[in-house]
């Protein structure tokens, strides 16, 4: 009887596990299969055109997405990695009450930011960057707002990566007379580097998939942006515009398929990096 109860419940858990895989396969599979049947080579080599008709490919939206990812990372990586280094290498080692207060403020910031929904980042970006700082609907506004979204991601992964470096490394370096910064730069960062990279890739993934923030800060022009002050349209935003604005549902599906494949590739590369880290650790 007890065995029977166990196998009954365990089969339910098997079912939920299988259901999760099926849900993933049906969403991703549907989009990829439907989408790829519409993709021709010039889908990647031409830009959207023709206004409402949704003609053309997605070249300019790919370029805009790349700009957006690079610019966002350019802002968020130094801040996020720097914050992670401070929290693990300086604040944790210091006993002063000020350092403790800074640490708890920073932790509060990271935890709160991680829960803020993206439309709030968008609203904030719209109020501060687009309107108050007069950056307009532009790459500059969008990437600053986007950086706010991924800074907590990068801080967290940097912290984890640094914490995984054994204390004996630091102690050895400090004992040899190196300063704290020299220790961090030459001894702690190199082994933590792959871990930090996963944070950066995660951040890039968030930017690639983000729509709500860019919907209210990026403007939505499908032209290739020519400067920081130009507006543009990322691939995710293009899916939204195609689905909501044009007759080109098939193109929306095709763009979505490209996005899904991109996300899969990013996830795989994160898994690969983490696996390499754990292998090295052993």
């Amino acid at each position: 009887m007890r065995k029977f109860t166990q196998s009954m419940f365990f089969s339910v858990f098997w079912l939920t596990g299988i259901a999760a895989v099926l849900v993933m396969l049906s969403v991703a599979g549907y989009v990829v299969v439907k989408g790829f049947s519409r993709i021709t080579p010039d889908f990647f080599t031409t830009s959207p055109r023709g206004g409402l008709s949704g003609e053309g490919g997605i070249l300019s939206t790919i370029i805009t997405t790349v700009y957006l990812v690079l610019l966002t990372l350019a802002v968020a990586t130094p801040l996020g990695v720097g914050a992670g280094i401070y929290l693990v290498e300086y604040a944790d080692q210091s006993r002063s009450p000020l350092a403790a207060r800074i640490t708890s403020a920073a932790r509060f910031g990271v935890e709160t930011l991680a829960g803020v929904p993206s439309i709030i980042f968008g609203l904030f970006g719209y109020a501060l960057f687009v309107t108050a700082l007069k950056l307009g609907f532009s790459l500059a506004s969008a990437s600053l707002a986007g950086a706010c979204l991924i800074i907590p991601v990068i801080i967290r992964t940097t912290e984890e990566a640094l914490k995984s470096v054994p204390d004996s490394y630091r102690e050895g370096s400090l004992a040899l007379g190196a300063s704290r910064w020299e220790t961090v730069w030459k001894v702690v960062l190199p082994p933590a580097f792959p871990g930090i990279t996963t944070g950066i890739v995660l951040g890039a993934g968030r930017i690639v998939s983000e729509t709500a923030i860019f919907f209210v800060t990026l403007g939505g022009s499908y032209r290739t942006p020519s400067s920081l002050m130009s507006g543009g349209r990322s691939m995710a935003l293009h899916v939204y515009y195609l689905a909501m604005e044009t007759r080109a549902f098939d193109k929306a599906m095709a763009t979505a398929a490209v996005l899904v494949v991109l996300v899969v590739v990013m996830n795989l590369s994160i898994n690969m990096i983490s696996r390499r880290i754990s292998r090295n650790a052993r």
């Binding site: 939920t16 849900v23 549907y30 993206s118 609203l123 904030f124 690639v208 209210v216 599906m253």
Partner: protein
């Protein structure tokens, strides 16, 4: 000498970056509240929160209907998504053989990576037409049910991930001890592991709900966006889920680009309400998580 200076400069630079996150939080709070003050002042905080009519053209700015919409869609997502997600977490942590978990876990993680606009598109193309098939007068497919299903899938990875971590952090000695006393694996999971991980599991659910409250783009694509208090379409109270609705997030996204003056301020006020709501939800999740962690140590 130079070494000292480098050290000092680097420390300051790192300190400033460490404060970036809290600075952003303060800036977000400041700007959202500042922009919503005119609305709170001239409409009144309470009459905004309790007003059921949102007609900016007529100077009516009640967000009750949107609060109800957000609440119901989150409830719907929880009813569908939480059992599935927790089942997944138990499956991954306790039931599945290693190689199966190695297949299922990346699938669940991938669900988290799929952009919300893709979920929205899938909902528009597949779910909405399917739900339109339910023969209830007034049912158009767009509404709370479609939105709840989409959300349930979107919060699955959040809940499953955090809950699995909570289950795995229960010391293995508990499990082995229980088995040694003659309990079956299921009895052990049910009476020992799950209770020990309770607060972590609860905080996983609450975090998932926070995520659901904040979702925007997928919602506006499938929920119909009507500004009405959701009401059952038939005598069956469950048919409320076939009703169209609008979420707080959707209200902002749909109207921000067209709004000026008081209307714009009222949208920021919507954002303030959403921000506070989510802060409360996430704060309780964190408290639960910390309480749980503390409890385990003391045991």
């Amino acid at each position: 000498m130079k070494k000292k200076r480098v050290e000092g400069v680097m420390k300051t630079v790192l300190l400033i970056s460490a404060l970036s996150s809290v600075t952003i939080v303060l800036l977000i709070g400041f700007f959202t509240v500042k922009e919503s003050l005119p609305a709170f002042r001239s409409i009144g905080c309470w009459s905004m929160l309790s007003g059921k009519v949102w007609r900016p053209g007529q100077e009516s700015y009640g967000i009750m209907a949107m609060i109800a919409g957000s609440g119901l869609v989150t409830l719907g997502a929880a009813v569908i998504g939480v059992p599935l997600a927790l089942g997944c977490a138990v499956f991954l942590a306790e039931v599945a053989p290693g190689w199966v978990a190695g297949l299922v876990r990346p699938s669940v993680e991938l669900l988290a990576g799929i952009p919300s606009v893709v979920y929205g598109l899938f909902g528009m193309v597949v779910l909405v037409p399917a739900i339109r098939g339910i023969p209830v007068p007034g049912n158009t497919g767009f509404g709370l049910l479609s939105a709840s299903i989409v959300l349930a899938v979107m919060i699955l990875p959040t809940i499953a991930g955090v809950a699995e971590t909570a289950l795995r952090s229960v010391p293995r000695s508990y499990y082995n001890g229980s088995l040694a006393l003659g309990a079956t694996r299921w009895e052990t999971v049910r009476r020992v592991t799950i209770p020990a991980a309770r607060s972590g599991i609860l905080s996983a659910v609450v975090l998932g709900l926070g995520r659901a409250l904040g979702e925007t783009i997928a919602m506006i694509m499938v929920i119909g966006n009507s500004v009405v208090m959701p009401e059952p379409l038939t005598d069956n109270p469950l048919s409320v889920f076939l009703s169209r609705a609008r979420t707080l997030t959707g209200n902002i996204a749909v109207e921000i680009s067209y709004a000026t003056g008081l209307h714009e301020s009222a949208l920021f006020a919507t954002g303030t309400v959403l921000f506070i709501l989510i802060m409360v939800v996430n704060f309780s999740a964190r408290t639960l998580l910390k309480a749980g962690a503390g409890g385990e140590v003391s045991r």
